[in-house]
C-alpha cells in the first residue's frame, strides 16, 4: 500500500534503491544518468557545502515535480507523494517558498474531491484527501509562508468551497499577515552558519545598543568549517562606550568576574556567551556628587526639602535584587580559560583600567565542549549535512489519518521538525 507507485516511479527517475536514496538523489543528483544504482552512496560522503549548487535545492525540487506532473495516471498515490514531498521540502531548501506549495497543490486532481451538494458537504467528505491539504497548509504555517489568493484558488479547485482546507487557508490569510511582524527583534530569514558570523549576530542581539562595538579579537583558523580541526577558536566581543565608562568607574580596586557560559538560542542554533561583570558599587560611588557649578544656564538640582509626593511616585515598590554592571560580552569558539584570557587581554586595549584590575574566572561546570557553539539541528542554517530526506510519510501527530498507516516502517523524520 505504501508508495508502491511512487517507488516504482522514483527508481526509474532517480536511480535510487530506496526511499532514503531517492531523496538524496532528489536533493543532489537529479541530473545523474538514470539507472546508476551506486550513485547515492558515495555522494553521502561529499562535503555538504559542495552540494549548494543547482543540482540540489529548489531546482531539484522543481525538476522532480515537473517530471511527476508529466507522468500519466494521476489518480493514484497522490496523497503519499505529497506527504513525501512535504517531508523532503526542508532539506531541499524550498520550505519557505510559496510557489513550491502551489506546485504540490497542482499535483492534486481538480474536481473529483469536491463534494457534490450540501448533503455530502455535511458528511465530512474525503477525509484523507482533505487531511492531505491541511498538511500542506500546516507546513506552510510552520515555516511562516503566507498563502495568497492563488493558494486559495487552487484549494477551491481541489476541495471545493467551505471545505476544511479552504477554511484553514482563510484563517491563515487572516492571521499570518498580522503576526508576521510581531517579533520586535526579527532574525534574518537565513541564519549564518555557526561560527564567527553567527556569534556576531548573537552578540548584536544581546547588546541591543546601537553604540555597542563588536570586535573580533581573534579570527578562527581555519577560517571556516567545523571546529573539530580548528587550530585556534574565534573570539568576538561586544562593548559599548557606556560599558567602558562603567568599567573605568568601577576602578582597579574591586575585582571583575568572567562568568558563563550562558546560552542563547538563535532559532534552533544554540550559542554560548560569557560576560565580564562586577559587583555593584556602593551607592556613594555610583554617581558623581552633584556639582553646583556644572550647568551654565539652568540649575540641575533644586535646593528644596521636598520629595516627590506619594501619589506621583510611579515607580513600583519592589524588592530589587541588585545586580552588578555588565562591562562586556564575549562569544568564543572555545570556553576554556586560555581563550577567555585572550579576550580579556584584547579588552585591555580599550579599557586600560582592566590591566590593573584582578579578573576572576567563574566558569560553570556545564561548559560546552570546545567549539560547541551551536550544533545546528536544523537545515535552515544549511551548513551541516542535512540527514537524508526521505520520500516517506512524515511523522504526523497521532490521530491523523496517515500517520498510523504503514505499520512501524517510519522513515527518519525530516530534521528540525
Amino acid at each position: 500500500m505504501r508508495l508502491h507507485w511512487a517507488h516504482a516511479l522514483s527508481r526509474r527517475l532517480w536511480g535510487g534503491w530506496g526511499p532514503s536514496q531517492v531523496a538524496r538523489s532528489m536533493s543532489r543528483h537529479s541530473s545523474r544518468p538514470a539507472g546508476d544504482p551506486a550513485s547515492g552512496a558515495p555522494a553521502r560522503r561529499d562535503p555538504p557545502r559542495d552540494a549548494q549548487d543547482n543540482d540540489r535545492g529548489p531546482a531539484a525540487f522543481a525538476a522532480a515535480l515537473e517530471t511527476l506532473e508529466r507522468i500519466p495516471g494521476r489518480r493514484v498515490g497522490r496523497l503519499e507523494l505529497v506527504a513525501a514531498a512535504l517531508a523532503a521540502m526542508p532539506a531541499l531548501g524550498v520550505a519557505r517558498e510559496r510557489e513550491a506549495y502551489h506546485r504540490l497543490l497542482r499535483l492534486l486532481p481538480r474536481g473529483p474531491w469536491v463534494p457534490r451538494g450540501p448533503i455530502q458537504r455535511l458528511l465530512a467528505p474525503f477525509p484523507q484527501q482533505q487531511e492531505c491539504g491541511l498538511q500542506i497548509l500546516e507546513q506552510m504555517e510552520r515555516y511562516g509562508v503566507v498563502p495568497d489568493a492563488e493558494t486559495r484558488f487552487l484549494l477551491l479547485g481541489v476541495f471545493g468551497p467551505r471545505s476544511r482546507p479552504v477554511r484553514k487557508c482563510q484563517r491563515m490569510l487572516y492571521w499570518l499577515p498580522r503576526l508576521r511582524h510581531v517579533d520586535p527583534h526579527p532574525l534574518p530569514s537565513v541564519l549564518p552558519p555557526p561560527g564567527l558570523a553567527a556569534a556576531c549576530l548573537g552578540l548584536r542581539r544581546i547588546a541591543n545598543d546601537p553604540d555597542a562595538r563588536i570586535t573580533v579579537y581573534q579570527r578562527p583558523v581555519p577560517d571556516e568549517g567545523d571546529n573539530e580541526g580548528s587550530v585556534q577558536p574565534y573570539i568576538v566581543g561586544a562593548q559599548s562606550p557606556e560599558q567602558q565608562e562603567l568599567l573605568a568607574r568601577h576602578g582597579p580596586a574591586r575585582p571583575v568576574f568572567v562568568e558563563g557560559p550562558f546560552s542563547l538560542w538563535l532559532r534552533s542554533t544554540q550559542l554560548w556567551y560569557y560576560v565580564l561583570r562586577g559587583d555593584p558599587l556602593p551607592p556613594h560611588l555610583r554617581e558623581d556628587p552633584p556639582d553646583p557649578e556644572r550647568s551654565l544656564y539652568y540649575p540641575l538640582h533644586l535646593d528644596l526639602d521636598l520629595e516627590r509626593g506619594p501619589w506621583d511616585d510611579d515607580d513600583f515598590d519592589v524588592d530589587e535584587v541588585e545586580e552588578g554592571p555588565v562591562f562586556a560580552l564575549c562569544m568564543a569558539g572555545a570556553g576554556d580559560r586560555h581563550t577567555l584570557g585572550k579576550w580579556i587581554a584584547g579588552l585591555q586595549e580599550a579599557n586600560p583600567v582592566l590591566g590593573r584590575t584582578p579578573v576572576v574566572f567563574r566558569l560553570q561546570d556545564g561548559d560546552p565542549p570546545a567549539g560547541a557553539t551551536g550544533d545546528p539541528p536544523t537545515p535552515s542554517l544549511g551548513e551541516v549535512p542535512p540527514p537524508p530526506a526521505v520520500l516517506e510519510l512524515p511523522d504526523l501527530p497521532r490521530g491523523y489519518g496517515h500517520s498510523t498507516r504503514g505499520g512501524g516502517n517510519k522513515g527518519s523524520m525530516a530534521p528540525g521538525e
Binding site: L296, Y298, D303, L304, R308
Partner: protein
C-alpha cells in the same frame, strides 16, 4: 564723514544737560537686592508697584537718545549694504570703522573709560537700529554684551582702565570664549587648562574653543579655563577661572571663519590657545570663580534681544505693508484679504508686546539697587526670538514667491533670525532656567506649608480645601489692578482681570506642582516647559497692559491702537494659559506627556522613523 559724525555724537554726549547727575543715579547701587517681579508671580503674587506705571525716561535722556538715534539710523540706511555683507560673509572695514566712529563699540562702557555710558534703556533703543543688519548686531553684541562684559561687571579698576578705553573706541574688539567642542552649556566639558607658572606670576593657557563670535577679529578674549584650586576642605579641585587674554600674549591662533546659514557677515571661528602666558593680574574676579562670572555675563546680555527683534519686525511690517497695499490679485489688493490682514495683526501684536517687555525689563534694570532681572531678561529673549521667527516667516508668506528670492532681503532676514532661537542659551534651556529659578524661589517659601499638608495637619489641609472650594465656586481675584483705585486704565479692564485671574491660578498651579513633584520637578521637563510658557505670557501681558495704560493716560499718539493690540494679545494669552494650566493638572485629558515620551523613546531606540511605508504589504 563718518568720523566727524562720531565725534559729533561724543560731543553731544558730553554736552548733555546734567552729565553728572544721571550716571550717578543710574549707578547708585546701594540698596539690597530685591526679589524681582517674575519670581513673585510663581507665588501667585502680583507686585504691581514694580511694573506700574510703565518705566519712563526723563525728557533730557529722551532728547539725548534721540540725538543718538538720528545719525545711527542714517548710517544704517545709507552706508550699510546688508546684501553685500551677507554675500561676502564679511563686514567691510569701512563699515566697521563707521560703527567705531559712532561709538557703537562702547555703548555700555562708562564715560570715564571713553564709552557712551548708556543705560540699559538707551542701549535697548540703539539695539533696535543696529538689528537692521543681523551680522552687525551680532558682532556688536558679541563684543559688548558678552565679550567685554566680564571686565565691566567683575573686573578690577586697573583692568578697566587698561582695557576698556581701547575696547570702547573699537580699536580692540572683544570675544567671549566659553564653548568647547564637548558641549555648550555643560561646564564639565571645558577642557582648556590654565596652569600657574612656578614663579606664580602668570598662567599658561592651553586648549581650543569653538564657535567663537568675533574670534578672528578680536584682540581681547574673555577665556574660561580650568585651574587647580585648593578648596575649603583642603583638597585640590579643578575649578573654572575667567581670564582676559590679549592676542599679543602669543600662542593665540584662530581657524578659518565658519560658513553659516545666517548672520554670515559676523565672524565665527575656532580659537586655539597654545602655551599662552596670561599674567596673574588678568584673572577676572577670583581664581576659581569663573563659573559665577560666566553666568552673570550670560544672564545680563539677553534683554536687548527684545528691542532688537522689535526693531526688525517694525521695519519688516513697513516693507511688507507696502507690498500688500500695492499688489493686486483678482482685482483686489492683497491688503483686503482677511488672511493677509491676520498676518499683519500678528506681526503688530508681537512687535508691540516684545517692545513692551524689552523696555519694561530695561527700565527695571535701570532702577537703583541690585535688581535681579535675569529671569525677566530670559523671558524677553525667549518671547522675542520666537516672535521674530514667526513674524519673519509670516512676512515671507505675505510676499509669496518673492520672499523666497535672493534678490530681495526677506530670505536674509529669515536666515538671520533663526540664530536668535539658538544662541545666548537655546530657548529650551532658557525655559528650564525660567521655570526652575521660579520654582526654586517659590519652593523655598512654600516648603513649610506643603510639608504640613503632607504630614496631614488638619488645620492647614482644611484651609487648603476651603480655598479650593472657593476657587470652584468662582472666586473673584483682586490684586488691585482694575477698579476704582486700580492702576490699569478702564479701557484695559478686561485684560487686567484676565491677567489677575491667570496670576492667581498660576500660583495655585505652581503650589500643586511642588506638592506633587517636590525637587524631582527638575526631571519633568515637559511640565517645566508649560510653566515657563505661562510665566512668559503673564509677563508679556503685564508689560503690554502697563505700557498701554501709560499711553492712554498721557495721551500718546494712536493709543487706541495700543489698547486694541493689548486686548488682542491678552485674550489670546489668557486662553493659552488656561489650556496650559489645565494640562498641568493631574490626570488631565489634555496632557499627552506620557504618550509623547513613549513615542519619542520608540523612535530614539531605533534611531529612525520606524513606521512601515504606506505602500508596504504583509501578504
Amino acid at each position: 564723514m563718518a568720523a566727524t559724525r562720531g565725534l559729533l555724537l561724543r560731543a553731544l554726549r558730553a554736552s548733555r544737560p546734567g552729565p553728572v547727575a544721571f550716571p550717578a543715579v543710574r549707578r547708585l547701587r546701594t540698596a539690597a537686592p530685591r526679589p524681582a517681579f517674575a519670581k513673585e508671580l510663581f507665588l501667585g503674587t502680583l507686585r504691581k508697584e514694580e511694573v506700574f506705571p510703565y518705566p519712563e525716561i526723563s525728557n533730557e535722556e529722551l532728547a539725548e537718545i534721540n540725538q543718538f538715534v538720528g545719525p545711527v539710523e542714517k548710517f544704517f540706511s545709507e552706508e550699510v549694504d546688508s546684501k553685500k555683507i551677507d554675500q561676502d560673509a564679511k563686514i567691510p572695514p569701512e563699515t566697521l570703522k563707521g560703527l567705531k566712529d559712532l561709538g557703537l563699540f562702547g555703548m555700555q562702557i562708562p564715560e570715564e573709560y571713553g564709552g557712551l555710558g548708556l543705560s540699559n534703556t538707551m542701549y535697548a533703543r540703539l539695539g533696535e537700529i543696529t538689528s537692521l543688519d543681523g551680522s552687525i548686531a551680532v558682532t556688536l553684541a558679541a563684543h559688548q554684551a558678552i565679550g567685554l562684559k566680564g571686565i565691566l561687571i567683575a573686573g578690577t579698576d586697573e583692568q578697566k582702565a587698561k582695557y576698556l578705553p581701547r575696547l570702547a573706541s573699537g580699536e580692540h574688539i572683544a570675544a567671549f570664549c566659553l564653548t568647547e567642542p564637548g558641549s555648550g552649556s555643560d561646564a564639565a566639558s571645558i577642557q582648556t587648562r590654565a596652569t600657574l607658572s612656578e614663579d606664580g606670576k602668570y598662567f599658561l593657557l592651553n586648549g581650543s574653543k569653538v564657535w567663537i563670535s568675533n574670534g578672528g577679529l578680536a584682540s581681547i578674549f574673555t577665556v574660561f579655563a580650568r585651574t587647580e584650586v585648593v578648596d575649603k576642605d583642603g583638597q585640590l579641585k579643578d575649578k573654572i577661572t575667567a581670564f582676559i587674554v590679549e592676542r599679543d600674549f602669543g600662542g593665540v591662533t584662530h581657524g578659518k571663519p565658519e560658513d553659516k546659514l545666517g548672520i554670515r557677515g559676523s565672524n565665527t571661528c575656532e580659537v586655539h590657545f597654545e602655551n599662552t602666558k596670561v599674567p596673574i593680574e588678568n584673572v577676572i574676579g577670583e581664581v576659581g570663580g569663573g563659573f559665577k562670572v560666566a553666568m552673570n555675563i550670560l544672564n545680563s546680555g539677553r534683554f536687548s534681544m527684545g528691542s532688537a527683534s522689535a526693531g526688525m519686525i517694525k521695519k519688516l511690517i513697513e516693507m511688507t505693508a507696502e507690498y500688500a497695499c500695492t499688489r493686486k490679485q483678482f482685482n483686489k489688493k492683497l491688503s483686503e484679504f482677511g488672511l493677509i490682514q491676520e498676518k499683519f495683526c500678528v506681526m503688530a501684536v508681537k512687535a508691540y508686546v516684545m517692545e513692551s517687555m524689552a523696555y519694561l525689563t530695561a527700565g527695571m534694570m535701570d532702577r537703583p539697587g541690585f535688581p535681579d532681572c535675569s529671569v525677566e531678561a530670559a523671558m524677553v529673549k525667549v518671547f522675542s526670538s520666537e516672535g521674530a521667527w514667526t513674524c519673519v516667516s509670516e512676512a515671507l508668506q505675505i510676499l509669496g514667491g518673492l520672499g523666497y528670492m535672493k534678490d530681495y532681503p526677506y530670505e536674509r532676514y529669515l536666515r538671520d533670525t533663526r540664530i536668535l532661537l539658538i544662541f545666548e542659551g537655546t530657548n529650551e534651556i532658557l525655559r528650564m532656567y525660567i521655570a526652575l529659578t521660579g520654582m526654586q524661589y517659590a519652593g523655598k517659601i512654600l516648603t513649610d506649608k506643603i510639608k504640613e499638608i503632607k504630614k496631614g495637619n488638619v488645620g492647614v489641609a482644611l484651609g487648603e480645601f476651603l480655598s479650593k472650594l472657593r476657587d470652584m465656586m468662582g472666586r473673584k481675584v483682586d490684586y488691585g489692578l482694575v477698579g476704582d483705585r486700580g492702576v490699569v486704565h478702564p479701557s484695559l479692564q478686561e485684560s487686567g482681570k484676565k491677567l489677575e485671574e491667570n496670576v492667581y491660578y498660576f500660583g495655585t498651579t505652581v503650589r500643586g506642582l511642588l506638592t506633587r513633584f517636590g525637587k524631582t520637578i527638575v526631571d519633568e521637563q515637559l511640565v517645566l516647559k508649560r510653566v515657563a510658557d505661562i510665566i512668559i505670557n503673564l509677563y508679556a501681558m503685564t508689560a503690554a497692559i502697563s505700557r498701554a495704560s501709560r499711553s492712554i493716560s498721557i495721551g500718546l499718539r494712536n493709543h487706541d491702537h495700543e489698547v486694541l493690540l493689548t486686548n488682542i494679545f491678552c485674550t489670546e494669552a489668557y486662553f493659552k494659559n488656561n489650556y496650559a494650566m489645565a494640562q498641568l493638572q493631574k490626570y488631565a485629558d489634555e496632557n499627552l506627556d506620557d504618550c509623547i515620551k513613549k513615542a519619542a523613546k520608540q523612535v530614539l531606540e531605533k534611531r529612525a522613523y520606524i513606521c512601515s511605508h504606506p505602500l508596504d504589504r504583509t501578504f
